[in-house]
Symmetry: D3
Subunit: 230 residues, 6 copies
């Protein structure tokens, strides 16, 4: 299995869905992260520093990491041209599973712009005739999931996982982003959210994602774990 | 694995979710069906005939079948007392997976009343102090899924399955309800719906259900099948 | 100001909205709690013990406490007759603000039954001609709010409050329900939820409620506190 | 065409959908109203007076009027037994079009209880085997529409009509309910709502209803009137 | 009556709403189709071939056909400039009824981009002062409807029609797009969907659309056909 | 308190939320309006005339007024660059409260484009590192509210206010836009809507807005006014 996670800024994947990637890497999956800016507009941290923080985090995660430039932080725009650029990345990397921020508005505009671009890119990646991408073989992903970055408590997740085995690793991954975690309780926020979801499903820490398509299984009993604790 | 499917009338389980039960029976799961009336109010078929039809269908499905009486067809009412009666059945049968009609109104009133009763019963089955049920050990189910009966195209399913391997068996199971299928295109309706969903996920026939709780997996790659065909 | 909080079981008000009541009691408001069962069906605790726990919690909260009997835990039913009984309580107590569990299904059936009964009772309390209540003067409440009990992360709250000043008191109030907090992480769950919401609005602990009617103010600047932290 | 409108209290049909019935009566349709209480709980007006008001209104509307007793105002309950009673009325009256209050909660509990009862009754009216109704031939209605009583601005209507030609008649019909219109601005409320909707579709006064089923036409151009004014 | 249907690619109108146009042409309405790309990115078929397929289909439909260029398939973008270009087409063609793909995301990005562009264009077409369009007289359409292309079962349609009389013609129209129908079951998909909806309303094949504005009629009985079959 | 209201065209703020600004100005708040076009595309009125009308209205409102140029009426586009321009205005003006049109589509495309741009601008205004804005100190607003322009009856407002004390002033403010109010009933529309909402909360005229974030108060009793009249 190959996973490809997209994040608008250098720390979004780490805060939003790193535990899922840590679980996959531990299970032998290939994990790659593509970041769409260098966090140039952040109140703290300069781009070089933020790139280095991301590289340290990626090393901890045993994940490959690339940066793309879409005119910088706060300038992500969900245009066909930008979605086609991401579709090219999908064709190059040929993932089974793609992860992107939730495309619902009302947070950092880059967050949902990234979600929309990735969602559309997953479609475009499979149209063989698209001239802009003719040097890359079409690719059909199997799954697109959306993750939350700092939005919590707005909607129930569709798929949940026990991330307790990687909770300490996650904390270390988030802490790599030293420039972002000094003043604000971002790490506390993510752990509080994971603890809350964990309590509702009966584990210490849990993380959820949102599906773009129905979950498909061979038969109902293939879903053997339960999320019914309260 | 043990599955317990509830249906308000003698043919609702067969039309709504029999393919899922056929797949489970073939995989060695225990399957039981509990029907909450004998279809006394139907425009065609008398109760004895309808019970016989259901028994023939259950035999084809290798499923156990029970009938309960809640004052008959068109009289199902989602009261605490009725939910407690169903909770008793859940305690007696101790299923891992429970199936019920979707609890959203606007169809035969018995359909969503059954959905509400079963949903509430799944909760009540696990409260140890409930005096009405003190002779039966509490039981916590793992999964509750809802199925559609004759409502189609109202909402996207959460979990989908390829039912092509059992499509012919399903047709035979539905045909057991001879009193119901003479005048109206019920069998055609279900097959058209399954064919449509099948086309959208890339198989011949598919069936979907709705979750009551998030799907829980160990990690994302545990969901290896894709529903992305269009 | 007088507040009247309804709870289906002896600990629901304490776990769901006690911090709001503690803030009010500290500000000089009158607070009363009416509990609609003695928690007879719980897996732990007997009714006498649970009533005593609730009385200790009420004492800590400087709140009045009454119990009503609606055929016991797991038997709450949102009938007109039951709503009229609650309307009588509203007429007797004449609150400005009423609190009830959220009336959305899919949790303990008593929880949303209580929410529905209270919502309807608030209407019925003001119809002067209702013969069942003719010995009690009609009363029009000013506000109805809904609280969550153990459902978290399903929907965004409408009104949020900083409860940090009473967080320790809340913990003590919840701990009064010793029979309920031994095996399950209920206290942890509520604190994790309050911590998560607190982080999102920039305080240590926060709690939110849901409105039944629009919020009304004299002018926009009357809402001087901000919930925009992330 | 025959229309059958159900209302929970003596003035609800008149305030909620009388203009639609006036238009139909003028066009030669048969119009009947069935009221499910005598408004016994209202703050003003006694049952005898309210029945007389309703009879005067019905006379103005050239509509037949019946009263049914469901234990009185504030006691309407959406049980199978009550829905079956209404199904009997539907079988007796054999309408093409049925009108009922919107079944969404959060208003007078009788209002949505009536909506739910009528919606379910429309289903039950067509099940030939229902023993409770065996002396009455099954009847399949063609259309079920929901109307608002005093809820405004909560949702957009599905079908709108210019009621300007009957606006004065409507005012007179509402004024028949003298006991209800003295203290509160009910007539003003309905006219303000109709004026607002009228302005949005380009007529003086308009009224909207909600559908239970899709609108069906022979072809798109059969819908020749436009609601696009703003 | 004049109908103007917009489609992002050469086969979308034919697959999505051709039956409605066939019914209109048969009834004497003028029908025009405007296609916003030549399907340049499709996995099968080259632009010249696809244009020819569309022209053959238009001939079968007795419909006029135009192509516009918005930088090609996969590049449709809902900008003001593009909406203004479509508004110009609306002013030139002066339709009563406009049809466009549903503007809800999550399918081919061109599909919902086209829906958004057309929806906005219908507004812009009527602002007399818009300098970009000053050589064209403003035009106010009467109706905007949205159609589904390959999304099925996501939401209930607002207006449904019996398309059985033109089902065979529709099949022939779809078959004109030979390059698109060889490998994938597109024709089967549309017919399965139409058969399913047909069964639910009691005809052989049916098609539904979504409204942008409420349906307006003179009076309720003007809607004489029923969609209540199940 | 400082309020900053954004409007796409010269009359939108006046028609949509002027009463709220009038109440604030009367209470001593600073009020500023920024208009994003000069209404160049309107069917009536030329830009110079419309600017003068807006200036007269602003004078009546004791509000400051600025115009920005985003390529003119009908050309507003929610791009990052445009949102950054508005963020610059927010940094320059440093408001506590920001008002913008509701960002939900399906009205004049400029209306929701303006809503989206302002919503995103409120986020961008607080990111210190954003190079485009480095000469302006970051600013964190306290509240973002959305207002309706000519959409009514689509959704219930979150916050309502009695605007009766300024209803006559509002009428005068709207009447300043003489070029817009001659042919269409815009003033009537707004007053009918305000009258309708007023009746539902028990005052003569009321206006509502929509929140972007939860309302935050110190405690529940801080909300002392009630909106429960019907």
């Amino acid at each position: 299995m190959k996973l490809l996670a997209f994040g608008p800024h250098p720390d979004d994947i780490e805060f939003g869905c790193a535990p899922l990637l840590l679980l996959e890497a531990a299970a032998g999956s290939d994990v790659k992260m593509i970041v769409l800016s260098r966090g140039e507009a952040g109140s703290a941290g300069v781009p070089e520093e933020r790139e280095q923080e991301a590289r340290r985090a990626a090393a901890l995660m045993h994940a490959e990491l690339d940066f793309l430039d879409f005119r910088g932080d706060c300038h992500l725009e969900a245009t066909p041209a930008n979605s086609i650029r991401l579709a090219a990345e999908i064709r190059r990397n040929r993932p089974d599973i793609v992860l992107a921020p939730h495309p619902t508005p009302n947070q950092h505009p880059d967050h949902f712009a990234a979600g929309v671009m990735v969602r559309d890119a997953c479609r475009l990646a499979r149209y063989a005739g698209l001239a802009d991408l003719k040097t890359l073989a079409p690719h059909r992903i199997a799954h697109l999931y959306f993750y939350d970055i700092t939005q919590h408590g707005q909607r129930a997740p569709d798929v949940v996982m026990d991330i307790s085995p990687v909770a300490e690793d996650w904390r270390a991954v988030m802490a790599c982003h030293a420039s972002q975690v000094s003043s604000k309780g971002y790490i506390d926020l993510q752990l509080a959210s994971a603890r809350l979801l964990g309590l509702t499903i009966g584990v210490e820490f849990a993380l959820g994602v949102y599906v773009n398509d129905p979950v498909r299984v061979d038969r109902l009993s293939a879903l053997s774990l339960t999320a019914r604790n309260f």
